[in-house]
Symmetry: C2
Subunit: 406 residues, 2 copies
Amino acid sequence: MSLIVQKYGGTSVGTVDRIKAVAKRIIEYKAQGHDLVVVVSAMSGETNRLIELASQITDQPPARECDVLVSTGEQVTIALLSMALEKYGQPARSYTGTQVHILTDDAHTKARIKQIEDQKIHQDLKAGRVVVVAGFQGVDEHGNITTLGRGGSDTSAVALAAALKADECQIFTDVDGVYTTDPRVVPEARRLNRITFEEMLEMASLGSKVLQIRAVEFAGKYNVPLRVLSSFEEGGEGTLITYEESDVEQPIISGIAFNRDEAKLTVTGVPDHPGIAYQILGSIADSNLEVDMIVQNVGQDDTTDFTFTVNRNDYAKAMGLLETTAKELGARNVEGDDKIVKVSIVGVGMRSHAGIASSMFETLAKEGINIQMISTSEIKISVVVDEKYLELAVRALHEKFGLEQE
Amino acid sequence: MSLIVQKYGGTSVGTVDRIKAVAKRIIEYKAQGHDLVVVVSAMSGETNRLIELASQITDQPPARECDVLVSTGEQVTIALLSMALEKYGQPARSYTGTQVHILTDDAHTKARIKQIEDQKIHQDLKAGRVVVVAGFQGVDEHGNITTLGRGGSDTSAVALAAALKADECQIFTDVDGVYTTDPRVVPEARRLNRITFEEMLEMASLGSKVLQIRAVEFAGKYNVPLRVLSSFEEGGEGTLITYEESDVEQPIISGIAFNRDEAKLTVTGVPDHPGIAYQILGSIADSNLEVDMIVQNVGQDDTTDFTFTVNRNDYAKAMGLLETTAKELGARNVEGDDKIVKVSIVGVGMRSHAGIASSMFETLAKEGINIQMISTSEIKISVVVDEKYLELAVRALHEKFGLEQE
């Protein structure tokens, strides 16, 4: 018998019928002898409905009251799911974040979990109940309701699993696992049985939006085995997210991630002296624009060229800021391109295998794809290419690294 | 400067625009120098929406989970109202029943308030904030969410006023006060400036559904001055509900109440021995049917006649039960009538004035109205008459007792 924390997202509990289906699935797991703690999100659409109400009142709702408002979404779901479980004969009990004291800091709308009271939950489990906990929400030390930010239910589940020392944390979502790449781009894409936390972090941040990054980080930090499963298909094994150490033999490359939402900006002929990067990116960061890749190249005559990418939606704003900065710095030129994409190969195995980068570049060259930027980390290599090459690049790399085979 | 607790019901906060209007009204009161604690209900329709969701899952939702579910309704309103207040420049803070620790017993869906923590609220008031509290809900000693039953927001407001030792508790509703009778029946009906708690209790239970009975009882017990006001008309004084002692001179009759929803049942020729009333009403009470008036008359030959009234919706069910009981008791006959109404005159003044009853009966006789049942208490006299006489009886009595004049 093991203790499992399961998390069902908004789509999985989006209607009364789906809530009933989730209840039946939970009962099946329970029948296998497991203790179950279930974390749920708000029914899909509900959070948006609440935010829309607030927006009819004010453009700038106080963050504290936003949390009071939107936290009702998950509270409705825990009650309905508990009712469904009881109806099917499974004793259950629901808890809000406040009730199981999911203690967070006081950063409303983006709070971080500090501690969870596990006593009540263990008592209920001992009594044979399924415990249903509202995801996404907590309470600060003064009793104010807080939320973890959108998608925070994943983090709630992992934090609960860590606090309860659960054997596994299962995230039910609308995909049946993590794939070597997006199956809509490469039909041969294969579900991975396992992937390391580090790879998962790289995959998630690169656009494979299966799990919240914070949840993955949290799981890694507290050593919680995490599994991604489909809430719509029964019997699947999903993808287990593991620690590198537990894997005897790693594949070199685990997957190909990509991101279509990028735009790049370049400033050329900048005087090359210390602090220049800060001067260029300072105004961008001050405006809360998120910068993704940053590349600096040696230029000529004591100047340098500096390129970075931002979300495509922020392109115009970033360009405006950069032109002002460039003038102040006496730079030669500012240019940009919002028709680019980022393609990355990810794999912990590449640490110990030389020549992966050159393999990647060779593959792209053979297909006539020009590489505009390169950025590397220990377990990934990312390139920026013209957006028209996205599918071609991903398919060629998927084949080159043999990802369609186990 | 005084401390006022205000309560706005579901209709008053039924839309975003009405919530904004309530916020503006609160700010006007605040500008007059008052400290304000505001209790709100769920937006009208919201509680029904939630109950409908539950009913799609099960006919018998666990009471604990019902409370978790429906308490979200008021939580949404407190957040939205606080946002509106802040938008208009008035610092505000919302609290759920759990957050201000409105401690109740554990009778889910019909809990009773035992205690309220006033410290947080006093701190906020001192800091110049308006405090917005979710009505209808509380928390038991184990941290479970409870609700007070439908309409319980009135009780929340009165309980808060008592705990905070407020100078007045103002209930904003869709009428502008308590009237001498229903103005739809008697156009000359007049708003009462004041009415005693006892009269209010009789008026409320007799069908003038302005305030929850429990709230009135609570206010009387804790000496909370209670005022009923219109949330849609500005500047009204409403009706102040007072203690008898504070009134130098009482009018003899304060108002005429009536109830159209009654049906009467009579069993005749019942052996007249102790315990007979219990035997007749036992099965009715066991089936959770509420009995209103009960009259027992002396019959002939050691038998008695026994009549009582029930809600018209329960008539058929009550008749079925009574026929079974009558057979067991060897009664002569069972008869009934669901085309009757109850008309009552209410006034603490009648205690010290003889002849009120005969005045009432004389008035009805002059109009040719036959009285079918009579029941009296210290401050009210109720009669049951054929429903076709309702308007005639109420108008005649209203005029007879001069209620159209101050």
